[in-house]
Structures are given as structure tokens and as C-alpha cells.
Symmetry: C2
Subunit: 430 residues, 2 copies
């Protein structure tokens, strides 16, 4: 009865090593919390020679053999990427083992099938570490807020881009310069595409939306824009209107004539400096949640790093181990709502736009007319004259994104408009 629970660890990079260390150093505490001792059964890696710190008898290159080994109870997958992680996870389920994963890309691509396989096998699939590192956000969505109706999630879920945008705001640097600094300091990877172009945040947004709205959302459903087009001018313009630029992951439930739908998007946006997310700096993450009964909630903490991510993995590990001890799997994930995904073009957004215009009578009227023609209502206009030129800074009310982008395209063609110097969406303005 008190046979130790055995854990198969797939992958032993930064996160895997931290998990392994904790399993060894905190074995007594973890065992007491689980109700049974916990032991590492094996560690699957590609190149055993690269892991001199791991006891040799634990290392194996046969990941599939490890996850299906009869004495293995639980599997921790921290390999990342789609394959072989997916096949290994499915093999684990088939062999009746619960899985803890930190794999946002895989969960965002194939979450529905993976949850179905886990449910069929009667085992658990938890992946708190996949979104916002150490911050407990998936379990609160899956369990704490499961009796409420969520309307909106706005998150800063990528530390690299948050660092770059924070530095741009602090130093006035352009994107390229701030990226170079982030790369040099190790905050950005040599190939920063996944972070900078928003792929990482989009995967996380898909996972958040799926859990929040009880509906399947995959990474491919997420409208995605990165931060490489954000300019020093955008950042300066944001400051002028009391805002700061952040890369936001936004998940919304939108009411429509033909029923509710979900809109999920990742893009840079200006938010007011008084917004709780505005002060989330550097490599920190934060997730802002709005629910019908609970109102506004915020979850804040470290979004990446070996130790913080290991904290989330270990929390899930203890949870599934306790489920193993007490009998059944924990509650699964429901996708019963099956909401349609609203295309970005139809998603209501707000824009900030700065224009260089000729400073002569009628220009503002002509510009305003262009907005009206696209049925975009203007919230504020600020006009600053300087010689024969003027700058118009316009913030719109909410309108379908397609109408806003069509308006911008039309403004670029207007003879009186000498240049569109900054266009960025605005979130969180009242």
C-alpha cells in the first residue's frame, strides 16, 4: 500500500533539472503531502552524456519504454514541441499513467484530443506550467472560477516581449535596439521569432480561452500580431495619452445576434498607466480576469525560469499523485460550450492613430468624415499645430476591427494626410 509512487521525467533541461532536484531534495515534504513516498523512476534524455549530474542508473534514451514501464505511475513531460511529446503523452495515457506537462505548443495545438485520450483512460492531464510560469492561473480557471461566467481575460504572458517593451519605454530605444539588448542579456533567444512574433503568447491565449469559456480554442484560432512593428514613436505617443504599450493576450466572450462567440487575439496595445497590467514590468507575467459574479481579479508572478516553472510542475505532480492515492482522477476539462470563434475582422477593438496633416482649415473635418464613412465613432482628438503642419492624435470608440483598419487604409490615401505616424490598438480605456 505504501509502495512509492514512481515518476518518469521526460526531458531534463532547465525545468526538468529543477523538477528533478526538488523531487530529490524535498522528497519527505512531498511524500507527506501526497500520502505516499514519491520517487524518480527514470529520466529520458536524448544525450545521457550531457547530464553528468543525473544518477546514471536513472538516465535512458528510451522515452517510450520509460513511460510505459509497469512500475511508473506518473509522467512529467518537459520536452516541449509537438513530437515526440504528443506520442509519448498518448502512450502514457494508454498505459494508464497521468501526465503533467509544461508544453503550451502541444496543448494549444491538440488539447481537445489529448484531454479526450486522458478522459478515456481515466487519468489526469494537468499543465499549469504551460501558461504564465509559476502563477496559478489554469487551476483557478478550471476549478476556482468554474461556477462563474467569465467574460474576459487580458494577460501579459510573454516575458521576453514584456522586457523589450519595458526597455523601449524606459530608454526611448526602437524595437531593434531593445531586442539586441534582450538577446545579449539572455532574455531573448537567438531565434526570437516564437516570442517576438507572438506565437508563444498565442498558444497561451488558446489554452486560457479554452479553459475560461469551456470551449475548444486552438492556436490557429488566435489572431496574432507581434511587436516587431512597434516603433519608438508608438511608445512615445502612448506616453502622451497616459498609456503604456504591452503585448496583450486577450480572450473575450462576445455576445452576438446569432449567439455568443469567443474572440481570441494577441497584439500590442496601449493601456492606461493606471491599469493594473501597466505596471507589470520586465520578465513578470500577469493575468487579469473579469467574471460576472467575481468581478475583476488579477494573478501576478514570475512567468518563466527553471525554478518558477518547476513550482507549477510540482504542484500538478502532487495533485495527480494525490488523485492516484485517493482513487479517481480529478475533474477533466469540459468543452461543452462549443462556441464559434469570431474572426478578428468582426471583433470590436479601439484604435489610437497619430497623423501628420497639413495645418489648414477643413483637414480635421475631412479626417473625421473618413472615420464616419466607415462607421467608426471618435472618442478623442488632440490637434497640435506646428508651422504649416499639424499632428492629429485620435482615439476611437469601439468598432469592428475591419472597419478600423479600412479607415486607416483610407486615411493613408488622403492628400491632406502627410503620414500616419502611429497606429496601435487601445485596451482598458473607459
Amino acid at each position: 500500500m505504501n509502495r512509492p509512487l514512481k515518476v518518469a521525467l521526460l526531458g531534463c533541461g532547465t525545468v526538468g533539472s529543477a523538477v528533478l532536484r526538488a523531487l530529490q531534495e524535498q522528497a519527505d515534504d512531498l511524500g507527506a503531502r501526497i500520502g505516499r513516498p514519491v520517487e524518480v523512476a527514470g529520466v529520458a534524455v536524448r544525450r545521457p552524456a550531457h547530464h553528468p549530474d543525473v544518477p546514471a542508473d536513472l538516465l535512458t534514451t528510451d522515452a517510450h519504454g520509460l513511460v510505459t514501464r509497469e512500475d511508473v505511475d506518473l509522467v512529467v513531460e518537459v520536452i516541449g514541441g509537438i513530437e515526440p511529446a504528443r506520442s509519448l503523452m498518448l502512450a502514457a495515457f494508454e498505459a494508464g499513467k497521468s501526465v503533467v506537462s509544461a508544453n503550451k505548443a502541444l496543448l494549444a495545438e491538440d488539447g481537445v484530443a489529448l484531454h479526450a485520450a486522458a478522459a478515456k483512460a481515466g487519468v489526469d492531464l494537468y499543465y499549469e506550467a504551460a501558461v504564465a510560469g509559476a502563477i496559478p492561473i489554469l487551476r483557478p480557471l478550471r476549478e476556482s472560477l468554474v461556477g462563474d461566467q467569465l467574460s474576459r481575460i487580458v494577460g501579459i504572458v510573454n516575458g521576453t516581449t514584456n522586457y523589450i517593451l519595458s526597455r523601449m519605454a524606459e530608454t526611448g530605444a526602437g524595437f531593434g535596439e531593445a531586442l539586441a539588448e534582450a538577446t545579449e542579456l539572455g532574455y531573448a533567444e537567438a531565434d526570437p521569432t516564437a516570442d517576438v512574433d507572438g506565437f508563444d503568447a498565442a498558444a497561451k491565449a488558446a489554452i486560457l480561452a479554452s479553459l475560461a469559456f469551456h470551449t475548444p480554442v486552438a492556436a490557429v484560432d488566435v489572431h496574432r500580431e507581434g511587436i516587431s512593428t512597434v516603433t519608438a514613436t508608438d511608445v512615445a505617443r502612448a506616453a502622451e495619452i497616459g498609456c503604456t504599450v504591452k503585448l496583450l493576450a486577450i480572450c473575450e466572450r462576445v455576445a452576438g445576434a446569432d449567439g455568443d462567440s469567443v474572440a481570441v487575439r494577441v497584439h500590442p496595445a496601449m493601456i492606461p498607466t493606471a491599469h493594473p497590467l501597466a505596471s507589470v514590468g520586465g520578465a513578470f507575467n500577469a493575468v487579469f480576469v473579469e467574471a460576472e459574479a467575481a468581478g475583476q481579479l488579477m494573478f501576478y508572478g514570475q512567468g518563466a525560469g527553471g525554478e518558477p516553472t518547476a513550482s507549477a510542475v510540482l504542484g500538478d505532480l502532487v495533485a495527480i499523485a494525490r488523485n492516484r492515492v485517493t482513487g479517481g482522477p480529478g475533474p477533466g476539462v469540459t468543452g461543452y460550450a462549443n462556441l464559434a470563434v469570431r474572426p478578428m475582422a468582426e471583433t470590436p477593438t479601439r484604435y489610437h492613430v497619430s497623423l501628420d496633416v497639413a495645418d489648414k482649415p477643413g483637414v480635421l473635418a475631412a479626417v473625421a468624415q473618413e472615420f464616419a464613412r466607415h462607421e467608426v465613432s471618435i472618442s478623442t482628438v488632440r490637434q497640435t499645430g506646428r508651422g504649416d503642419a499639424a499632428t492629429l492624435v485620435i482615439v476611437t470608440h469601439s468598432a469592428p476591427d475591419a472597419a478600423l483598419s479600412a479607415t486607416i487604409a483610407a486615411l493613408r490615401e488622403m492628400p491632406a494626410v502627410r503620414g500616419v505616424t502611429s497606429v496601435l490598438r487601445v485596451e482598458g480605456l473607459s
Copy 2:
């Protein structure tokens, strides 16, 4: 198999009504998330005539009869207070029903016995709503962070006192005036003792500490000081050193020569305005958590009110209902660590103290000597002369609380000290 799960609701005040409404209006969603329909079996109240909105056939004055009724699966206790809530809860466990409670006083007084009774019966006891209203904090502590080692929790967990202190800072009013305003606006109860004297926060601190450190902590173990002694001068002095005054619930794991212990306390303190808790205003709550691997986390949201509290109750209700559907109870609460509770006198704290002194040579030396005599090290001193008098503002380093209070007592006796105008602990300074 698809027989509806039946819920007994004990109490139908602000929170109970909101829970009842949600169970009726969101029955389809909740049923889909649980995997079985959910229905209200009955509502136990003292005076049925006071509840014209509740269908008459649901109302009963026989709470005991309701919780032990054979067709009842789950019990929601929102009566509050110690009795009859405790007897009803124990009767429910004995009858094999899981319980959701919002009862901080009861859980803080008798949590260990209640958890033992639930575990013995093989049922669930959840009470997310008991601490910080809608904010998911107990489940993250119980489950998400269960693989980590927590070192410290600092929370603003009482909205009434937070409102009063916020108003004192904004208007310069004294405690009495701000309390009167809070009472008039309905933010403070007619008898504000439970809030103002820190009883409410102390109960919450006991619950937080128990879960965070896996050790039994009761309300009686919590050192408690309220805010009625906080003066306008304290608030003004705080602002002068870049701080703001908050009523904090602080739970710490303290290393000692004879092993670790826990220190749990509730008292007003100055915290730097840059601290994430400093900007938590009005009736909002926030809980700041420090863990070995996860680092710093913060949870923020509405701490009270019918709807937000109902959100937490319903989250627990869906969770225990799903456990009922999938088979076993969820993980219980472990108190294996059995840490000693460190008395306040031995708990390390820091003090701010403002003194009116005679402005003549040697006074600062004499004052500093008094701190040294009690082995309290000084962090900063600011001296402001004005005529023949001077003000000394001193912030200490960390020292046992008894040494600090003995120092203050000695200062009050010094001939050169004309008055001790403000004494308050300081938290969160580097």
C-alpha cells in the same frame, strides 16, 4: 445515473441569495460542467417569512433535518458563526455529504477537527469564500503551490479596515471620522469590532497559515492588533517616508535554532508605496505570497459582497459535485508539519517611531544608545529641527518584537523625549 445532484443551502442572506439565484439561473451551465444536473433540495432559514423570493416548498426551519435528508448530496453552509454551523457541518459529514462553507470564524477555530471529520467520512470540505471573497487563494495554496515551500504570505484581507485606512490617507481624517463615514456608507457594520479590531483578518490569517505551511494554526494563535489606534499622524508620517498604512495579515515560516516555526500576526503597518499591496484600495483585497521556487506571487480581487463571495462558493460547489460524479473526494488538507507557533515577542519585526525631542547636543546619541541597549539596530534616522524642539524619525532594522516594544517603553521615560508621536511597524522595506 443522471439523477440530479441535490444541494442543501443553509442560510439565505446576501451570499446565500446570490448562490441560490446562480443555481437557478445557471443550472444548464453548471450541470454541463459537473456532468450531472444540479438542483436545490431545500433552503434552511430561521424565519421563512423573511424570504418571500424563495419558493415556499424549498424553505424549512429544520436545518438538521435538511442536511441529513437522504436525497441531499451536497451542503452549502453560509450561516456564519460557530453554532449551529459546526453541528450542522458535522451532521452533514456523518451523513456522507460534502460541505462548502464560507465560514472563516468556524474554520479558524476548529479547522483541524472539521477536516478530520470530513476525511473520516470520505467527503470534501472546501471554503474558498472564507478568505478574500472572490479571489482564488485557498485552492492555489492547497493545490497549485503544494509542490513548493512557502515562506511568507502578506495579505490585505479585510475590506472595511482597508477602506477606512484609504480614506484616512486621502483626506487626512482621524480614525473616528473615517469610521463614521464608512459606517454611513455601509462599508462598516453597526458594530464594527470584528473588522476594526482585526478579528476577521486574524481568522483569515489562521486559515492561510494552516494551508500554506501544512500545520494547524487557529485564530487564537494569531497575534492581533486592530486599527483603532492608528492616528492621522501615523498616516502622515508614513507618507513622509514614502509609505502607506495598511492592516496586514502576515504568515511567516521562521527558521530557528530549535527548528522552524510559524509566526502569524495581524496589525497595521507602513509599507512602501511601490509595494504591490500599497495600491490595493478601498474594498479590494490582495494576497501576496512568497515561495521558494515560485518567487513572488500576488492574487487580487474583490474581498466581499454577495456576488463575489457566491462566485467562490459556486466554484467549490462545482468542484465537490464533480468529485461526487468522478468517484472520490478531492485531496484533503495535511497538517503533518506540526510547526510550533512563535510568540509575537520573539517574532522579528521592524518599527518606525517618531519622537519629539529637545533640540540640544547629545539627544540623538542618548536615543540611539537606548536602541543599542535593547540590541535594536537602527536603519535610518531623520532629524528635523524647529526652534528648541526637534523631531526624530527612526526606522529600525529587524529585531524581536519584544525588544522593539521595550525600546519604545524606555524612550517614553527619557527626559529628553517630550513625546512619542507615532509608533508603527514597517513591512516590505528592503
